[in-house]
Structure formats: C-alpha cells, structure tokens
Amino acid sequence: MQSVMVPLFLSLKVAIWATLINLVLGIAFGWYLSQKRSFFRQVLDVLATLPMVLPPTVLGYYLLVLFGNQTGLSQWLETNFGFGLIFSLNGAIVAAVIVTFPLVFKPARAAFESVDEQLQQVGWVLGVSKTAVFFRVFLPLAWRGIMAGVLLGFVRALGEFGATLMVAGSIPGKTQTLSIAIYDAVQAGQDSEVNQLVLLISVVCIVVLVLAYYFSPKRA
C-alpha cells in the first residue's frame, strides 16, 4: 500500500500546484486576451497554444534542452533560488503547467468575452475600483467557463507523463508520479498492479470532479 501512496501524493502535488499556477496565470492571460482583439494578442494566444501540438515526450525533450545546463537558466535558478528543474518535482510541475496552460486560458478567454460588458461599466460608475469589479462581476459571471478549463487542466496534469518523464525522470519516491508508475507497470506487464493504480487515479479524478460539481454555481 505504501508503495502506492507515495506516487499518489507526488501526482497530487504536481496536479495541485499546476492547477493553482494555472488558476492565476491562465485566468490572467485569458482576461488579457479577451480585453482587446489585436494581432499581437492573437500571436500570444497561438504561441501559448503551440506546445499542445507537440507529442508530450517531444515537448519534454525541448524543455530538457531549455532547462538543461547548456542554457544558463537552470544554473541561474539553482544558484539564486536553490530551485532545480531537471530530475526534480519542480520540473514536473513546470512541465504540467506548460502542457495544461492552453486548456485553462482558452476557455477562460471565451468565457470572459461572453460576459456583458455593460455590467462591468455599471460597476465602475458605482465607484468600485477596476480590480474589485473584476473580482466581483467579471470573474463570477465567467466562472462556469473558467472552471471547465481548470478541471480539464487538473485532470490532464494528473495524467501527464510524457513531458514529465523526460524532464523529471522516473525516480520512485522522488519524481515517479502515479501516471508514470502506471506506465511502468504496463510496460512490466504487472496487470494487477496496473488495475490497482488505474483504479486509484480514477477515484482521485472522480472525487475532484464531483466536488467541483457540487461547488459550482447553479444555473440562475
């Protein structure tokens, strides 16, 4: 049992961190894109979507090159923040964020674009600051679309393994997440272990989806 709990815990850590980061960055980016149609913003949208078209393993390869010691990035992070990416859970989180980012910001953008602009204007006229109007009017009205994306992102982060494997490796107890463990077990032909692990990850997924459902606002 213990051997199962460790990968589960690592997976949850990756998925939850990735989701939190996406919740902030994805919403902010989706909001930014929704505010104005411009060539520049559209280019940003496409660039942020591009990683999705690559097979995750290939994306992982690029991340490896990017984070590796050939660019200064890794060393800079390491010396300044004591924050390694290769072979560490941090790397797995970064990989998960990049893989799931489009899943979050695209639906968020669409949801923001569908909100009635007049309502935000009314908020301003009532003397409420732009930030406050964003949190009190726009965000709740776009919430349904945002949540759809965030949930997709969470589930995908939980299941992500191609890019993670490349960047973070598969070190039991350190970077071997549940999905990598499943992959390994399938490779090793350990059928009963595979079923056990798949059941576990499915239960986690179901619990999260059901919780999200109960906390989502009812239709007016």
């Binding site: 908020g123 006229v125 009532l126 003397g127 409420v128």
Partner: protein
C-alpha cells in the same frame, strides 16, 4: 452655470452613422431631457457618466470638469460620483438584491458580501422603495417594476454628486411612480445635487421644476455626408 455640456460623438455601424451633437447649458440644478426615440438622450447621459468618450467638446457640471477634449481631461467613471440608472437597469444577475444595492458601498473589497454596517443602510433604501421582502431574491426572479426600483436604490445609496436618471419610472404603476418621484425629488433637494432626467412622461415634467431641454431629431445625418 450648473450644467455646461457640449459634446460630439460619431457612432459608426453597418450601413448607418449616428452623429451625436448635444448642447445643454442650464443654471438650474434640475434638467429634463425629452424628445423622440433614438435622438441621443441616453447616449448623452452615458457620456456624462463616463462610459462613452466624446470625440470633441467638454462636460462641466457644477464647475467640476468631467471631460475636456482640448485640455485632455477625462475623469474615469469611478471618480465621477454619479448616480446613474440605465434604461435597461443592468442589474448584476449573479447577486441578490441586497448585494446589488450594496455593490457600490464597498469600493475596494474583492468580495460581494454585505457587511453589517452596510446592511442597515441597504434595508433603509429597500424599505423606502418597498422592496424589502425581495432582499434575498435574484434579479431574474423580479418583476419589471421591482427591477427598476432596485436599480434606483443601487444608484442612490452611494450618495452621488450628480444624478443621471434614464426613464427611471417607466415600468412603475401610477401610485408607485408618484411615490418614487417624490423620493427622488426629496433626495435631490436635500443633497442639492444636480439632477438630469430623461423621460417621456408629462407627469414628470410637471412634478419637477426643471429646465426642459428638447432633443429634436435634426442631428441625425445621413451616411452620405461623411
């Protein structure tokens, strides 16, 4: 001079261009705009509230410059302190009536919760407008007249420095209309704030001792002339 407004704005849309060109000058602190449908009354008031930026001209109310194209002044809506009622109410659909009315009382907070201090104030206004029992409803569950009163309460509770009311009593029955008219008049006289009212109702014109500004449809220019 209390109202000193002179604005121009060109609105271009498919196959049609509307040219807004409004002059309103008045020494009185009550002004009523009236005139045919679609001449630009609502757009004028929107410019004053700061939701539409004129192409040229200036807006000065009670010697406060809200907009001046030449001097490059354009006060943001948050700082104009107007009580503005839109023709279509524009209530927040995700908030209860209580939260709608209290929205402007909390200018910085990131949540829509109603604080205890504010609650008393909110209920005071709900009472005045006879909608107390609707406090926990959502706008979608209200009748037209009820929604209109919520919009009024939401705009007035913030103690604005200018009142901009766009057909604020149109959905009310006669008795209620008289009552609400009195409420607004009282408030205006009490606070001595400039009031600008758009209406199609002659009773309104009679009830207020306002400067009457008639909008004619002359300003609408055919597309060819641009």
């Amino acid at each position: 001079m209390i109202f000193d407004i002179n604005i121009q704005k060109k609105l271009v849309s498919a196959s049609r261009t509307f040219m807004l060109d409004t002059q309103v000058c008045s020494h009185q602190d009550q002004v009523i705009l009236f005139g045919p449908s679609g001449v630009g009354k609502s757009l004028t008031i929107k410019c004053i509230a700061g939701l539409l930026t004129p192409d040229s001209g200036g807006i000065k109310i009670k010697n406060r410059v809200l907009f001046d194209k030449e001097k490059n002044i354009n006060i943001v809506p948050q700082e104009r302190h107007v009580g503005y009622i839109l023709q279509n109410y524009a209530l927040f659909p995700h908030l209860t009536i209580e939260q709608n009315v209290g929205f402007g009382l909390n200018r910085k907070g990131l949540f829509n919760t109603v604080s205890r201090d504010n609650r008393e104030n909110i209920y005071h206004w709900l009472d005045r407008f006879q909608i107390t029992d609707l406090a926990r409803q959502y706008p979608g569950q209200l009748s037209g007249g009820q929604q209109q009163r919520v919009a009024l309460a939401r705009a007035l509770i913030i103690e604005p420095e200018i009142l901009l009311l766009d057909e604020p009593f149109a959905a009310l029955d006669k008795k209620l209309r008289i009552h609400m008219r009195e409420e607004v008049k009282e408030l205006q006289e009490e606070l001595k704030i400039p009031l600008m009212l758009i209406t199609h109702d002659e009773e309104d014109i009679k009830a207020f001792s306002a400067d009457l500004i008639e909008f004619t449809s002359l300003k609408q220019v055919p597309k060819e002339s641009f």
